[in-house]
Symmetry: C2
Subunit: 309 residues, 2 copies
């Protein structure tokens, strides 16, 4: 067993977090164990931003939206004098933020709707193929967490069905999640806008409308899980209070359960943030994790490596 452990999850240090994961997986996969769970019920759900990849200094999907506004600006001369577009085009993030929720909704509508789902899928795939992180200069798809890739792989090898359950856009993630994480489109759950089936030049398309369908965050995560999967997960992984209800829903089911939160406490190798962060705020989760038996992963001490080589 010790020989096995050194091969398992190689980017995880030999601490409590790794032990909790391995204990859980061993318990639920050991036939005859009272904790045994048949493969069909081994459902594990993962948040994406800040759990599988970096979300600082701003959500990748927001970077995509801002890039797309800049791309489309040539067709919209009126944007030069209209907020929130004026601030986006000036690179004035404080100005963008000052436009509030209404401004953000306008940015999302202009960048994410008005095309077919298939067109949007290509736009997102094309963007992610070349877009780079503003600080590291690396592709966003290489700003993923090596220990989490190993964890996904470990769970898959143990018969788990893995889902992304993210506040991010479902159709933004699906075009690349399989290549990057090995998670196919049908296992990606996220926030969505409404679509409408219509004929365009005689060909059917699903047009993306500027109307919210589902916000897959906080209480919306268990709702999305129940709608899309129809089973309660036995393991859930997140990094912020937006994952609180997903972990609560998961770990309050009967039998052995695992809830785990990534704590971004490594300012040197990534970014340190938690209770007061505008992005990925983790406050209630830190307070209640001990009493709820949730595992807190310190990126600083539990992970020997952050990003893939």
């Amino acid at each position: 067993l010790p020989a096995m452990s050194t091969e398992l999850l190689p980017s995880w240090g030999e601490g409590e977090a790794k032990a909790a994961i391995v204990d859980f997986v061993t318990a639920v996969t050991t036939e005859g164990s009272s904790d045994y769970v048949p493969p069909a019920d081994r459902v594990a759900t993962f948040d994406n931003d800040g759990t599988l990849w970096s979300e600082q200094p701003l959500y990748v999907q927001l970077a995509f939206a801002l890039d797309r506004i800049r791309d489309l600006a040539g067709d919209h001369p009126e944007w030069r004098d209209t907020e929130p577009f004026k601030s986006v085009l000036a690179g004035d993030m404080a100005g963008v933020i000052a436009t509030g929720k209404h401004g953000l909704a306008q940015i999302l509508a202009a960048s994410h709707t008005g095309m077919s789902s298939e067109e949007f899928s290509r736009i997102a795939a094309d963007w992610i193929a070349t877009a780079r992180h503003p600080k590291s200069g690396k592709l966003y798809t290489s700003m993923i967490y090596q220990p989490m890739l190993e964890l996904l792989d470990y769970l898959r090898k143990n018969g788990f069905e893995i889902y992304i359950v993210s506040g991010g856009g479902i159709e933004f993630m699906r075009p690349w999640a399989e290549k990057v994480y090995g998670i196919p489109p049908e296992n990606v759950i996220g926030s969505s806008i409404r679509t409408r089936y219509e004929l365009r030049d005689g060909q059917p398309v699903l047009m993306r409308l500027p109307e919210i369908d589902h916000i897959d965050d906080k209480e919306g995560k268990p709702v999305g899980i129940n709608k899309f999967i129809g089973k309660r997960p036995i393991a859930a992984f997140g990094n912020s209070d937006g994952d609180f209800q997903m972990l609560e829903w998961t770990t309050s089911g009967e039998g052995r359960r695992l809830g785990l939160l990534i704590h971004h406490d490594d300012a040197e190798r990534e970014v340190a943030y938690d209770r007061t962060s505008a992005i990925g705020k983790l406050d209630r989760g830190l307070d209640e994790a001990p009493e709820r038996g949730w595992v807190i992963v310190s990126m600083k001490t539990d992970w020997t490596r952050i990003f893939p080589k």
Copy 2:
């Protein structure tokens, strides 16, 4: 090959319908063929009512709703004098129908909402375990079509991922679809009501609200497919004009595709209905199937057996 064919789909007669199915599956699974489709993209979607099981003389879920109103009537003395409940309790179907869409919505709200998703799942599972068809006296779950069970099995053996895409309720079907059809909860797509995550005595539950979330019929089927699966099917199976857009969406994609409609034309062994039926109306589909290359299956001549032994 002829020896194989007699073993394949044994309840299908040796006609054009069976040949079209076998030709399609052979083409998309033959490596090196120009029609080859990798397993991850072999998505097949099936309507449920009238395609996998009987829907006459009334939708099974409606029978469930009416039974449940009768079960709950003791707690609702006011129903004795209030439509649509008065007609339900009097067994007066014409009276129920006369209450129209508003009456039906009240029946659905009273029978399908106000409990948690897990409670509803148990209620549906308990009901389907004993409920019987009003004419045959058989369990509803034995009023399924043997040729379609063989087709599901044939597709699964050829690497297809199979989904139900039904106008019926997603949480009504999920509790029994795996046992009856071998289709797990996460592969069942249907109409849904909204749910709300809340704490009840400190335990989280998803409460079923009397608000429509998604109507998975007609244009709603491609919308649901895109939302839940994120891939366009290569094969779609239905029986009514409610499946028209699902077949249109499926067969207008690139490459080899299969669209198939079950025609209920066997009054002796099941029920004969199509263009003017209130349930399972098939009119436009019959007209346009030839030009669209969709297969029409005659239950009378293409199926040597209807129900399992």
